[in-house]
């Protein structure tokens, strides 16, 4: 394969993974936008979704894509419970509290999973495999393609939900202005709980989606959380189209660097996404596509 083929493949891979990244980080972004909570345990919820899928896959032979039917409601419930017992206490408190509490949560979750399942990496099997050749050696990996489709469907679902349903509108209202929302009769506590639950469900589903293509292990969370942060910085809080663009940018950057820089490419890819994050935060703190809340003076 010549260079242009490699680049083309990198672009394809970048777009495919980018779409996934978008759905992966939306939970994080919406929680931040609506509740003002930065969830450092985001990656761990994804990890839990992945492990759940793995169990369903190994024990019951269920294909990860089908497993979504179980994973979504299960993670929804998990999210709801967590919100009521823990997250509730950190909303509207200084951000350091939220950061540390969710960090503690992430450590506790990762260690618990490690205790139960040990640290060796696992993978799930899916029936949706294959590779569609476009030309010599350049093609579209089928699994990743289906992951992208599933991701887009979920994002579209979230978008429609937020735009057109009453509950969705309440959530958006609460994100804009809690006091006003309260006065209009929206019960904020319930809204928060549902929002968190939905976001965790989405995140867990992302975990299910990633399971066929990546190795799953208890400490896979932090890298994903940081990527979620990087994309949120680019996209803005709760901005779904922005998330898609941000995810694709990240995917492209990672894949192109991995391809173009020999040897150390893949590690440099991760570094570059973090450098991207820092650069975006410093140069355009309001996000590339708009909508990061201007941080208030403390």
């Amino acid at each position: 394969m010549n260079l242009s083929d490699l680049i083309l493949q990198a672009v394809i891979n970048g777009i495919l993974i980018g779409g996934f990244y978008a759905v992966m980080m939306l939970g994080f972004s919406v929680i931040w936008g609506v509740m003002g909570v930065i969830n450092l345990a985001h990656g761990e919820f994804l990890m839990v979704g992945a492990y759940l899928t793995w169990v369903l896959n190994r024990q019951y032979g269920i294909d990860p894509f089908i497993a979504l039917i179980v994973v979504l409601p299960a993670m929804f419930l998990l999210g709801y419970i967590f919100q009521r017992i823990l997250i509730n206490r950190i909303i509207e408190r200084p951000f350091l509290i939220a950061l540390l509490v969710t960090y503690g949560l992430s450590v506790a979750m990762a260690s618990t999973v490690k205790l139960i399942y040990k640290a060796d990496p696992r993978v799930t099997d899916t029936a949706l495999t294959g590779f569609w050749n476009l030309s010599d050696g350049v093609g579209i990996p089928a699994t990743k393609f289906y992951i992208l489709i599933a991701a887009l469907i979920m994002m579209a679902g979230l978008y429609l939900f937020l735009q057109y349903t009453r509950l969705g509108k309440s959530i958006r209202a609460a994100a804009q202005n809690k006091e006003a929302a309260r006065m209009v009769g929206i019960e904020i506590g319930q809204v928060y709980a549902i929002t968190f639950a939905i976001c965790i469900a989405l995140t867990g589903a992302a975990g299910a989606l990633i399971s066929p293509t990546t190795s799953i292990f208890p400490f896979m969370g932090p890298v994903l959380t940081l990527k979620a942060f990087a994309i949120t910085a680019m996209a803005g809080l709760g901005n779904i189209p922005g998330a898609l663009m941000g995810g694709i940018i990240l995917g492209l950057v990672e894949n192109l660097i991995a391809t173009l820089v020999p040897g150390v490419g893949s590690n440099l890819g991760i570094t570059s996404s973090f450098i991207l994050l820092v650069v975006v935060l410093v140069t355009r703190p309001q996000g590339l596509f708009g909508g990061l809340k201007p941080a208030e003076a403390r």
Binding site: I38, L86, R89, I90, F95, L96, I97, L99, L100, V101, Y103, G104, L105, S106, V107, A108, M109, A110, S111, T112, K114, L115, P222, V223, L226, F229, A230, A233, V264, N267, L268, I270, T271, F274, I275, L277, V278, L281, V282, P285, A295, E296, A297, R298
Partner: protein, 351 residues
Amino acid sequence: MATLTLTWQRLHLGRWGLLFVVLLLVAVPLPQFFAPERNLVTDSLLFSLTQMFILITLASNWNLTGGLTGYVDFGHAVFFGVGAYGTGILMGQPGWEPWPEALTLWSFWPAMLVGGIVAAVFAVLLGSATLRLKGPYFSIAMLGTFVAMRELVRVVRPLTGGGLGMTLPPYLNRPLFYYLTLTLAGLVVALMWWIRRTEFGSTLIAIREDEVGAEMRGINTTLHKITAFWIAAFLSGLVGGIWAYQNAYIDPDVVFLPNRTVDMVMMTMLGGLGTVAGPVIGAATIYWLRDVVWSNLLLFHQIAEGILLIIIVLGAPEGIMGVLGDRSATSLPRLWRKWFPSTSSESEQPA
């Protein structure tokens, strides 16, 4: 500024108590010299305590930027890492052609110093960008820097040994490292105490409390922030160098340990954000918890720490110093109300 409460007063230890503790610590390794056959003080004990002093130093450093100035750095360990690698590279012999001969095979002391200086310079450059960010954005930008540096080190293999790491000349002298780290810890704590008493410290507090107001009243906040930042970075870099030498081996994962940064935050919060004794108490407490308690619960200790962090942050956000200083909270009903508040308490808080 005479009216800022000095933390030792709150601990009710007084000057003599402080002297006693210092003398005790200085005396610990002495049995090794005077009565080695009795084996009262083992090497591993000295090693243990050395690690504790390192934690105390790091936590106090972090407190300067995080607690006093209010810029919560979630990636401060990056300076520790820069110092460690700086020292390691200078003491070793990187297999990288362009690297000048004059910068190899240094002895420890200059290497450690330059390691610290490199960390400080890095802090000035980094800070001029990241210190513009507020609140959580700063925290995460620093976390991102930490991770990026780790990967960068892994990538620049010819210079740093990449994922395989580098070894440093071995030097086994537990008492030396003990005294070295004890001195550094003592210096850092003394420095923090002194800063708190001067106008510089009050200015940092002002920046923490109200940066916009401070700037409006003529304070060059950028200058102050960057100064606090590089001082903390320099000292952390020194510690990194010491740690590297003692460990005789560095690699990206063991140096840039994610836990290290959060440890600093957690210890300082446990002890009391912004106080002088807070990081000391917090670091010592966590260290003993790990060494004594957790080691018996090996499997559960990480889970326990995660949960402990949550409990500390939610239950006692002012830390131990806050509880001690808040006389009204020493009664049980008040403590209960603190843990399950319906409104936030209005008790006096440590500055």
